[in-house]
């Protein structure tokens, strides 16, 4: 009996240098790779949005003083891809995830926020987001839920 899923890879692994240009290239590699493992265009769009924010955070905060590699795992799952991001940089402040509240809305143009959007985007598009500091490594994991279309 043939199982059509047997010949298709069930996940992706990437190792990315912790800088903005390498992140760009990794995202391009990732979107191609996710298409190859059967993810829909809508899922790939969400994955790219989330991963851009997650990886930029690692580059800007975990690896701000010393460079390092970022390890990315994607694993297929019936409820959507499970993703894990590992780095050897500085721990998350308080060893905890930011809540991701949007900055309060402003009417005055000069007070409009230029930042503070990233964690809100991550939380809006993921489920089961968790962070752990273990053996001098940061470990962020989340699920990208199945998107219709």
């Amino acid at each position: 009996m043939q199982h059509s899923g047997e010949c298709r890879p069930q996940g992706l692994r990437l190792q990315v240098p912790g800088n903005a240009l390498a992140v760009r290239r990794a995202l391009a590699l990732m979107t191609r790779g996710l298409a190859d493992i059967g993810q829909s265009a809508a899922q790939i769009e969400s994955a790219e949005m989330v991963m851009a924010e997650v990886l930029n955070n690692v580059v800007e905060h975990a690896y701000d003083s010393h460079p390092g590699l970022i390890e990315i795992h994607f694993d297929n799952d019936p409820r959507g891809m499970v993703c894990t991001v590992l780095d050897d940089g500085r721990p998350m402040p308080g060893h905890a995830l930011p809540q991701g509240h949007l900055p309060p809305t402003q009417t005055e143009l000069a007070l409009q926020p230029e930042g503070g959007f990233g964690w809100h985007l991550i939380r809006s598009l993921t489920r089961d987001l968790s962070y752990e500091r273990r053996a001098d490594r940061n470990r962020l994991s989340f699920r990208l839920p199945v998107v219709a279309g």
């Binding site: 949005m49 949007l102 809305t105 230029e114 930042g115 959007f117």
Partner: protein, 106 residues
Amino acid sequence: MQLSTETISDALVVTVEEPRIDAAVAIQFKEAMREAAAAGPARVVLDLSRVTFLDSSGLGAVVAVMKHLAPARLELAGLTPAVARVFRLTRMDSVFTIHPAPTDAA
């Protein structure tokens, strides 16, 4: 950061000629916009129809440009679906005047 410009009636239409406004180019984008609008137009329409990806750094850069141009107005045009989604999820779509197409704006 490649930009092209065109004056149409009272507006300077600035077209971003690259597919991504992200962490890698946010600073260059802000600088390029500063240069492009240096003559002080009353109104700038930012044509994003070639931009298929914008992250929170890119969004922050667009907000910074808006603040820098004031009191001149910055309006956006031609948002592709993924870019429109970022503005919507962050509720920044209520902060900007957003035209469906660049030709609607000028």
